[in-house]
């Protein structure tokens, strides 16, 4: 089962189509994501960026009336044939656009995932909580009040808590869906520093509506528009004066979108 190209390609998407009822939002896209790269995904609203992420961890199934065709493989395994979908989701950390502090204590916000996976020893859980909060650059601010409510934190702190939660199940892939739209620039830069650190340990999919953010962080960038890939290339090429597709330059330079 283990062959060399499969290690190179961490996620492989082939002919992915997704429709909500009658409306098709992804029109058969194919691309792959390499291990330990940061893939930037840019594109205007309604171009299918979030839907793509939800197909990868199969939370798309919670939306009624969706139809998916094509294949997505993670580590060579077709996600739609995975028996233990919960293990698949633990392999993938997901950070939503708006920070979601669950109405639990800060500690339990982070311990939720390992607990769901069956870990119960308090020592182990505490170690994970500390490690993830440190990774998300939140530990120093909350270490003295781990038992207060996660929902009482500020927006930027909650977003870092969300990232800590996404890291708590030790994912190999981290998906960030426009993580910076609800937080201030300073926090955004702190999280970007965190991502630069994390890229050594995991594959990161960075969906962003800030093209400059993709430029700062991504190894390769994909321009998704109206459910189709306009261009996927190294970030240098996408943001150069001459990307392959003129629409890419127009979007990056803010002519439309």
């Amino acid at each position: 089962m283990v062959n060399v190209p499969a290690i190179e390609k961490h996620i492989e998407v082939t002919g992915l189509r997704l429709s909500y009822g009658m409306k098709e939002v992804l029109h058969g896209i194919s691309f792959d994501i390499r291990r330990h790269e940061i893939l930037g995904v840019i594109g205007p609203a309604q171009s299918g960026k979030t839907s793509l992420l939800r197909c990868i961890n199969r939370t798309i199934e919670f939306t009624p009336g969706t139809h998916v065709s094509g294949t997505i493989t993670v580590d060579g395994e077709d996600v739609r044939k995975v028996r233990d979908v919960y293990a698949l989701r633990r392999k993938i950390g997901m950070v939503a656009p708006l920070p979601v502090g669950l109405p639990l204590s800060i500690r339990e916000n982070v311990a939720l995932a390992p607990r769901s996976a069956g870990l119960t020893r308090k020592g182990d859980l505490d170690a994970i909580v500390e490690q993830c909060l440190r990774q998300a650059a939140l530990w120093d601010e909350v270490k003295d009040r781990l038992d207060s409510l996660g929902t009482k934190l500020s927006g930027g702190q909650q977003q870092r808590l969300t990232i800590a939660r996404a890291l708590s199940h030790q994912p190999e892939i981290l998906c960030l869906d426009e993580f910076s739209i609800a937080i201030d620039p300073v926090t955004t830069m702190r999280i970007e520093e965190v991502l630069k650190e994390l890229r050594h340990h995991m594959t990161i999919i960075l969906v962003t509506n800030l093209t400059q953010q993709a430029r700062r962080l991504a190894d390769r960038t994909m321009f998704l528009w109206k459910g189709e890939i306009v261009e996927l290339d190294t970030t240098d090429v996408i943001f150069s004066a001459k990307p392959t597709d003129p629409r890419t330059r127009d979007y990056v330079e803010g002519v439309f979108g």
Partner: protein, 302 residues
């Protein structure tokens, strides 16, 4: 006000004055209608208290009816009502909550679940006398529970079930979807999500819905009259456990009906005092529901 002051833009022109008049009138009319709600309640309570005054004391509550129910108290009926209410909720609350969790959290939109939804809605619209007949046929005869507290409670349970389901669903639906998605994203199952996040944050709404059904179960006469409540039952004064569950019992609503219409020569204040006890029981339960809601809301976590 005055154009000459230089604030003509915000001055009162005739159309503005007309608008303000309409606004004042609307507020007055709507306010009066809302205030009118208080009047019937005050009249009912006031009238009852005045007429019941001679019998209103603790003795009346604890004493058993005497001299062919023309004198004495209402203890057997009071305890009977408590029996019926608690037993019926013991049946309907667990079933209702679990059914609502299924319908709100698990059920997909298919014909089977649409049929269930339709059934719940229609069950809520069935008149209580029809529930009574159903209870008579199903529990008293078919299930051979006889005329008993069990039969009456089950009948009340079926009557209260749809409202408990509706209240629970509403409470569950008020938990934001983003909380569920956050849990699913970290690999929690639906049940883990429900247990860790959804139920703890909807429990206040669920409890309120259940407690409000207490007052309905306590007040209904028809369903219990057909299935397990009797005219008279001899009970010790102040006895907390006077009934076996396979026996018939007395109940406040039924007792009020019989002493008002069926028994000649009842002391005049007794029916009114009985009504006061029934009303107080219901209002106290409602007050408990409201304070519980206020308390749990104050601990709201987002």
């Amino acid at each position: 006000m005055n154009a000459s002051t230089g604030h003509a833009m915000f001055g009162e022109t005739p159309p503005v004055r007309r608008k303000l008049r309409q606004e004042a009138l609307a507020q007055w009319v709507f306010g009066a209608m809302a205030a009118a709600m208080i009047v019937p309640l005050l009249l009912i309570v006031g009238y009852l208290v005045v007429r019941a005054a001679p019998s209103l004391n603790l003795e009346f509550l604890l004493e058993v009816p005497k001299r062919g129910m023309t004198e004495g108290g209402i203890w057997p009926a009071f305890v009977g009502t408590l029996y019926l209410v608690f037993l019926s909720l013991a049946f309907s609350a667990p079933i209702g909550i679990l059914a609502a969790v299924y319908l709100n959290e698990y059920a997909r939109d298919n014909w089977f679940n649409r049929v269930i939804n339709l059934a719940v809605i229609n069950l809520a619209g069935v008149p209580s006398i029809v529930h009574a007949l159903f209870g008579l046929g199903a529990f008293v005869y078919a299930a051979r529970f006889g005329y008993s507290i069990i039969s009456a409670s089950l009948t009340l349970a079926i009557m209260t079930l749809p409202v408990i389901i509706a209240a629970t669903r509403e409470a569950l639906a008020s938990v934001p979807r983003s909380f569920r998605e956050a849990c699913w994203n970290v690999g929690a199952t639906r049940w883990q999500t429900i247990w860790a996040v959804v139920l703890p944050n909807s429990i206040s709404g669920i409890l309120t819905g259940i407690i409000l059904e207490v007052s309905r179960a306590a007040g209904e006469t028809a369903p219990v009259m057909f299935t397990g409540v009797v005219f008279f039952k001899a009970v010790e004064r102040g006895d907390l456990f006077p009934y076996y569950l396979n026996e018939q019992c007395m109940a406040l609503s039924m007792h009020l009906y019989t002493i008002s219409t069926q028994v000649p020569g009842v002391k005049e204040s007794i029916p009114f005092a009985t009504a006061i006890v029934l009303l107080a029981l219901v209002l106290m339960v409602n007050a408990a529901a409201i304070s519980l809601r206020v308390y749990l809301r104050s601990r709201k976590k987002w």
